[in-house]
């Protein structure tokens, strides 16, 4: 059976170059329509403002602040991501472009392209929300290196988890509800780890080897590698 890499008359392609084309197309489309960006940012900003006004620093004792602020930050990040990241696949289904994409691109390239796009959105979200949260809540962080590593590794895990769930629910009805219901248990271990890591970073606890960051990195690697194997099965009919 001939199943190897497809080579055209004019050249050859790799998974990464195809994924980059899908990533750039999604970015270009998002730049022009702003469907996902608007959904994510609206949710994130309104939640952030609501949190900062209702339970600002003056209502929480100093001892509870590191833990509670870490919880609030990750709730904002995770639920903002859930409000918009399913769009990467859902918009293909809604626009009727799914079949043409199936005929044109290899499944792993599609998954990687969508993952890169979701990670870009999450990166932008974290760049806006995390500094705003720190400023608005007067969030004191004793170990900024650990905090940054936790936010980055947690974000990658969040992107990996939500991308594969978005692919699973794209062809279902009641997608919005399904996305949250399926994503939440998948993301819960990552969320708990990220909260713990951010709390330690705020307290400045002695934390040799940054175990929470390592867990989040391992989670991200496992999630992305498993998704690359599973995605072709989801992508088929």
């Amino acid at each position: 059976m001939k199943s190897g890499r497809w080579i055209t008359e004019t050249g050859s392609s790799t998974y990464l170059s195809e994924a980059a084309a899908i990533w750039l197309r999604d970015l270009r489309g998002e730049f022009r329509t702003r469907y996902a960006v608007n959904a994510i940012l609206m949710f994130a900003v309104t939640t952030l403002i609501a949190v900062s006004f209702s339970i600002g620093s003056f209502r929480i004792g100093e001892a509870e602040q590191p833990f509670l602020y870490a919880v609030l930050l990750w709730i904002i990040l995770v639920f903002s991501a859930l409000s918009g990241l399913s769009r990467s696949f859902v918009k293909e289904e809604e626009a009727g472009t799914m079949d043409v994409l199936k005929l044109s691109a290899r499944p792993q390239a599609v998954f990687l392209g969508k993952l890169f796009f979701n990670l870009t959105l999450l990166g932008a979200l974290e760049l806006i929300i995390v500094p705003s949260f720190i400023l608005l809540m007067n969030y004191e962080i004793k170990l900024p290196g650990l905090f940054t590593a936790m936010v980055v590794s947690g974000g990658i895990g969040l992107g990996g988890g939500t991308t594969i769930v978005a692919a699973m629910i794209a062809q279902a009805s009641a997608r919005g509800a399904l996305f949250s219901v399926l994503s939440f248990p998948l993301l819960l271990p990552l969320m708990i780890t990220a909260i713990k890591g951010c709390e330690k970073a705020a307290v400045g606890a002695n934390n040799p080897g940054w175990p929470e960051v390592r867990i989040a990195v391992a989670y991200s690697i496992v999630m992305i590698v498993m998704s690359l194997f599973l995605f072709p099965l989801i992508w088929e009919e």
Partner: protein
């Protein structure tokens, strides 16, 4: 040299039988027309051949120089146009062709994409967003997209859908050109389109 072999294909959804025991062979230069009542399974048969839908039983095999091509690779030897397909509305026509060139592994060449747009009569609107295209222009762009990689197998589901007489002439030219180097399967109920076929399979019989 490519060839296509369809063996005892059968498709049913739940209790509804669409078609059964469809078998044929197709060789380069041949055009097969598939016709039948609405709901007889013409589009589904094309989607099965393309590898987008699994048959209930039977199989589709495509051969390249005598070697069978795996299903996951087969899709990329196929160019398909169907009414249910859409291209990216938020991109221009040229950006759409650029995107599909890149994901299909064709080194992007603006000149050949513009050539393809000229072939389908869209060169003057190459930089217009697809959402501003008429339905006939969208159909022409779908044809351009399907031909980008010079597919050995061209699947045309109602190719004349929304096209004017100039557009129909373009379809005719595309089918003539495909005869020189590949195979074509057309699904339609339009007499003019069915007449392009050397052979006809009627799914309603």
């Amino acid at each position: 040299m490519h060839s296509l072999e369809v063996i005892n294909l059968c498709k049913h959804y739940a209790e509804t039988l669409l078609f059964k025991d469809i078998s044929f062979e197709l060789h380069p230069g041949e055009v097969l027309a598939i016709t039948g009542w609405n709901g007889s399974g013409k589009s589904t048969l094309l989607r099965i051949i393309a590898g987008l839908v699994r048959p209930s039983s039977g199989k589709v095999e495509m051969f390249l120089q005598g070697e069978s091509i795996a299903k996951e690779s087969r899709r990329r030897f196929v160019g398909m146009v169907a009414p249910a397909f859409s291209l990216y509305e938020e991109l221009t026509a040229l950006e759409n062709l650029e995107f599909f060139s890149k994901v299909r592994g064709i080194a992007y060449d603006r000149k050949s994409c513009l050539g393809m747009m000229e072939r389908t009569g869209l060169s003057e609107n190459a930089n217009k967003l697809c959402r501003n295209y008429s339905s006939g222009m969208k159909q022409r762009l779908k044809l351009a997209q399907a031909l980008l990689h010079n597919p050995p197998l061209l699947l045309l589901d109602e190719p004349g859908c929304n096209l004017d007489s100039k557009g129909m002439k373009i379809v005719e030219n595309i089918i003539s050109a495909q005869r020189q180097r590949g195979m074509t399967v057309i699904a339609s109920n339009e007499k003019r389109e069915v007449d392009y076929g050397d052979r006809v399979i009627n799914l309603s019989e």
